[in-house]
C-alpha cells in the first residue's frame, strides 16, 4: 500500500515541533510496510495531486496571515473537494484556526479561513499556556496548548473531545478541537501524534481506506509511546 502525505506550509507553519506529527505518520506507516511519500506545499507552490492525508501546523502571527491569503481560492477549493471525497486532514493550532470561517484579531481586519468547518476564532484577552488532557472517541489525548485565540464551534459541530485538564477551545464550553468527516483540528502540541498513537493510527487507517477499502493496521510495540502518554498525563494533572 502507499500513503501520500501533503505537508502544508512546512516552513511557515512549523513553530511548535509540528514536524513530529509528520514523523509519527511516516514512521508508523513505514513500520507496517506501507510506502510513504511526503510532499511539502509552501506559499505560492501548487498542491500535489492524489493526496491521502493533509497536515498543517501552527505558525507565527505574520506567517499565518501570509498562509491565510495563500489558501484563498483554488487551494481551499482543492482541499475542500479532497475532504468531501474522504481525504484525511489534521490541523494544529494556527492551522486549526484557518479551517474555520475567519480569525478576528483585536485591532486588524478579520483574517479569512477556508470555511471547511463551521467554526470561528476571536482574539482573546489572555494566552492559554500549559498541559492539556482531552477525553475523546480516541481515548485520552494529551498535549500542550499555547494560544490566545478563542474558538467556538457552530451549532451541531462535533468537538474532538472535552478537556479534563487545561482550557481547550475557548476556556468556557469545555470543548477541545473539532471532528468533521475525516478532519481533526485541535490546539494540542507535544507533538500530538507520537504520544497519542491511537489517533495517529486512526488517521493512517482512514487515509488508506479511501483508496484500498477496509484496512486493519498490524499492531506495533507501543511501549515507549504509552510511557510518554502516561507520564505526560500525570505531569498535566500535577501542573494545572
Amino acid at each position: 500500500m502507499h500513503l501520500t502525505i501533503c505537508w502544508l506550509y512546512p516552513t511557515s507553519m512549523n513553530i511548535y515541533g509540528d514536524r513530529g506529527n509528520v514523523l509519527a505518520l511516516e514512521r508508523r506507516a513505514q513500520w507496517r510496510g506501507i510506502d510513504v511519500t511526503t510532499i511539502g506545499a509552501g506559499i505560492g507552490e501548487p498542491l500535489p495531486e492524489d493526496v491521502d492525508l493533509f497536515f498543517i501546523g501552527g505558525g507565527q502571527d505574520g506567517e499565518q496571515v501570509a498562509v491565510a491569503h495563500d489558501l484563498q481560492g483554488a487551494k481551499s477549493e482543492a482541499i475542500r473537494r479532497a475532504v468531501d471525497d474522504g481525504a484525511v486532514l489534521l490541523a494544529i493550532c494556527g492551522g486549526y484556526q484557518l479551517l474555520g470561517h475567519e480569525y478576528r484579531p483585536h485591532d486588524a481586519a478579520p483574517l479569512p479561513g477556508i470555511g471547511l468547518v463551521d467554526l470561528v476564532t476571536v482574539a482573546g484577552p489572555e494566552r492559554f499556556i500549559g498541559n492539556v488532557v482531552v477525553e475523546s472517541e480516541f481515548g485520552t489525548l494529551v498535549g500542550f496548548e499555547n494560544h490566545s485565540g478563542l474558538t467556538t464551534l457552530g451549532p451541531g459541530v462535533k468537538p474532538l473531545g472535552t478537556v479534563s485538564v487545561g482550557r481547550g477551545n475557548n476556556g468556557i464550553d469545555g470543548f477541545e478541537g473539532v471532528r468533521h468527516r475525516n478532519v481533526v483540528g485541535c490546539y494540542l502540541h507535544g507533538s500530538l501524534l507520537p504520544k497519542n498513537p491511537v489517533l495517529a493510527d486512526w488517521l493512517i487507517t482512514k487515509a488508506l481506506e479511501r483508496r484500498y477499502g477496509a484496512v486493519t493496521l498490524a499492531p506495533l510495540d507501543d511501549a515507549f509511546e504509552h510511557e510518554a502518554h502516561a507520564s505526560a498525563t500525570a505531569r498535566a494533572v500535577a501542573t494545572r
Binding site: T11, N14, I15, Y16, G17, D18, R19, G20, L23, A24, R27, Q60, D61, G62, I129, G130, N131, F144, N146, H189, G190, S191, P194, K195, D221, F224, E225, E227, A228, A230, S231, A232, R235, T239
Partner: protein, 477 residues
C-alpha cells in the same frame, strides 16, 4: 543622574543597597541557592533605579551582552579579557540576567553608598529584559549574539523578541557601539536602526567540514527581512547563521569588521579561529580550551567587543586562551573511576550544535550518552521543542542512549521516531540520584559518558553529583 564616577549620598539608594547586600548574605547562609535574585527583588522595591544609579558611577561604562545562545559564555569571555587588561569588572557572573538579578549582582560589588568597586560593567541580559536594561545601563557597547527559537511558552514568538530589541536599539545613545552578528539576517536588519557605530562580526571560513548542507529544522529566519523572498546561503555555519543573500532583492550579509577566517574544531576539547580585524587590519589567532562552532562564535563576539573598547590584541588572545567554560556549558566530572562530560542543552539550536560536536558532524556517536529533560519554568514547560532537534544525527552511531528527567519518557519516544533502534534506547528512572547511579553503572571503569541536561535537570544532577563529592556549587566560581 550624577556625572560618571561621582559619589553623592543618595539615601534611597543606600537603603536599597543595604537590603540587597544584607539579604544576599542571609539567603546564602540559609543554604537556599546562590541568593542571586531575591535581594534584587527587595532592593528593587526600595529603589527601582538602582541599576541605573550604580552603572552611572562606573567610570569606563558598561558592556551589555544579549542573545539566545552564548550570552553567558560571551560575557564571561569579555570580563576575563577586561580583567587581563587590568580593569576591575562588575559582572553578573552567576548568570542571573533579569533587571533585578543584574541590580543585585552589581549591588554586591558596590560600597554601601553605591560606589562600584569596579571601573567597568559587563552585563549579560535576558532577551526580554533587554529594553529595560539598556534604558537603565546606557551601555557603551551592546553585543547582540544571535536570535533563535527558544522556549515559546516564556518568550513568545521570535518576532516579538526582535520587536523588543528594536525598541532597545531606539533607546541607545549615539555614542553606543553596537557589536552584532552579521551572519544572523534578523540581527543584520536590526543593526540598520542603530543610532551609532555598528561593528559586524561573522564567519568566512569555507572549509566544507564546518558547513551545513541544509537548513536545520529548528530554523526561523530564512526569508529576506526586506522583501520576504527565501534567502540563499553561500556558506551556512549553524542554524540560520552564515553568508546569506537574497536572490530576489540583492540584500546580503553586510561587510564584516571582524571575520572568523580559519576555523579548527577539536571534538569536545578545544577550538581555534583566526580572527581578521579590518581596523587595524591584523589577524588574531584565538586558541580556545572550550569546544564547538558555537564557542568560536562566542570568541568572535568577545574579540569584537573588546577590540571596540581598544584592548590590545595580545591581551585578548591571552585571556581567551586561558578561558574556562561557564556553569554547565561543558564540564568534566570524575566519579567512581569514570569521567562524565556535562553539556547544558536549552533549545533546538544549542542542542543541534552539541549533537554535531559530539557526533563529529553526524558521522558517529561512539560515547554512551544520557539525556535529561525537565519541563519546569526555567526549562520551558512545553517539550515540543524536542521535535525540532535533529536527533536523526545519532541514528548512524552505535552508542547506547539513556533518558531521564521529568520528561524522560518523551525524550525516549523522540529518539525512537528519529530512527534510532529501540535496543539502543534505555529509559532510566526520573529521579536524578537513581539515574546517575544507573548511568555510571552502565559505563565501564575508566570510560567517558556524555550527559546532556536541560537547565533544571542540570541543577538536579549537579546536586546528585555534589552529594557524592563530585562537583562544587556553581556560584562559588
Amino acid at each position: 543622574m550624577g556625572p560618571k564616577g561621582a559619589t553623592r549620598i543618595d539615601p534611597r539608594l543606600a537603603l536599597a543597597l543595604a537590603a540587597a547586600k544584607g539579604s544576599g548574605v542571609a539567603i546564602r547562609a540559609l543554604g537556599k541557592g546562590g541568593g542571586t535574585a531575591a535581594p534584587g527583588l527587595i532592593a528593587d522595591r526600595i529603589d527601582p533605579q538602582l541599576l541605573a544609579k550604580i552603572t552611572a558611577r562606573l567610570p569606563l561604562g558598561s558592556v551589555v551582552v544579549a542573545g539566545t545562545n552564548g550570552k553567558t559564555t560571551t560575557s564571561r569571555m569579555i570580563a576575563d579579557v577586561l580583567e587581563a587588561q587590568g580593569w576591575r569588572v562588575a559582572h553578573n557572573r552567576s548568570g542571573s540576567n533579569l533587571v533585578r538579578g543584574v541590580a543585585s549582582a552589581l549591588a554586591e560589588q558596590s560600597s554601601v553608598l553605591g560606589t562600584p568597586r569596579a571601573e567597568i560593567g559587563v552585563i549579560e541580559s535576558d532577551e526580554a529584559a533587554l529594553p529595560e536594561i539598556v534604558r537603565q545601563v546606557r551601555p557603551r557597547v551592546l553585543v547582540l549574539n544571535n536570535l533563535f527559537r527558544d522556549q515559546l511558552d516564556r518568550y513568545g514568538e521570535l518576532a516579538s523578541i526582535a520587536t523588543k530589541w528594536r525598541a532597545a536599539l531606539a533607546m541607545m545613545d549615539a555614542d553606543t557601539t553596537l557589536v552584532v552578528n552579521g551572519d544572523d539576517p534578523t540581527l543584520a536588519e536590526l543593526a540598520t536602526h542603530a543610532p551609532g557605530r555598528v561593528a559586524m562580526f561573522g564567519m568566512t571560513d569555507r572549509n566544507p567540514r564546518h558547513l551545513l548542507t541544509a537548513l536545520p529544522h529548528a530554523v526561523d529566519a530564512t526569508t529576506c527581512r526586506a522583501c520576504g523572498a527565501p534567502l540563499a546561503y553561500d556558506a551556512l555555519y549553524s542554524a540560520h547563521l552564515g553568508a546569506w543573500r537574497c536572490p530576489a532583492c540583492g540584500k546580503a550579509r553586510p561587510v564584516l569588521d571582524y571575520e572568523g577566517r580559519e576555523l579548527t574544531l577539536h571534538g569536545v576539547e578545544a577550538a581555534e579561529v583566526l580572527v581578521h580585524r579590518t581596523a587595524p587590519a591584523d589577524d588574531l589567532r584565538i586558541s580556545l580550551q572550550i569546544p564547538g562552532m558555537y564557542n568560536a562564535y562566542n570568541a568572535l563576539a568577545a574579540t569584537a567587543a573588546t577590540s571596540e573598547l581598544g584592548i590590545d590584541g595580545a591581551v585578548i588572545t591571552g585571556a581567551l586562551a586561558s578561558f574556562r567554560s561557564a556553569f554547565g556549558r561543558i564540564e568534566r566530572v570524575e566519579i567512581e573511576g569514570r569521567t562524565l562530560v556535562l553539556a547544558l542543552v536549552k533549545n533546538p539550536v544549542g542542542f543541534n550544535e552539541t549533537l554535531r560536536m559530539l557526533s563529529g558532524n553526524g558521522e558517529d556517536l561512539s560515547t554512551p550518552t544520557m539525556i535529561a529533560i525537565n519541563d519546569r519554568f526555567a526549562d520551558g514547560r512545553d517539550v515540543s521543542w524536542l521535535w525540532d532537534v535533529d536527533f536523526e544525527l545519532l541514528a548512524n552511531g552505535q552508542a547506547p542512549l539513556f533518558t531521564t528527567g521529568v520528561r524522560g519518557a518523551d525524550m525516549a519516544n523522540r529518539l525512537k521516531y528519529a530512527g534510532i533502534a529501540v535496543e539502543r534506547i534505555h529509559p532510566l528512572p526520573e529521579a536524578p540520584d537513581a539515574a546517575i547511579t544507573a548511568f555510571v553503572a552502565a559505563l565501564p571503569t575508566g570510560a567517558t559518558g556524555y550527559v546532556l541536561p536541560t537547565y533544571t535537570a542540570m541543577l538536579d544532577l549537579r546536586e546528585a553529583l555534589t552529594s557524592r563529592g563530585a562537583v562544587e556549587s556553581f556560584w562559588r566560581q
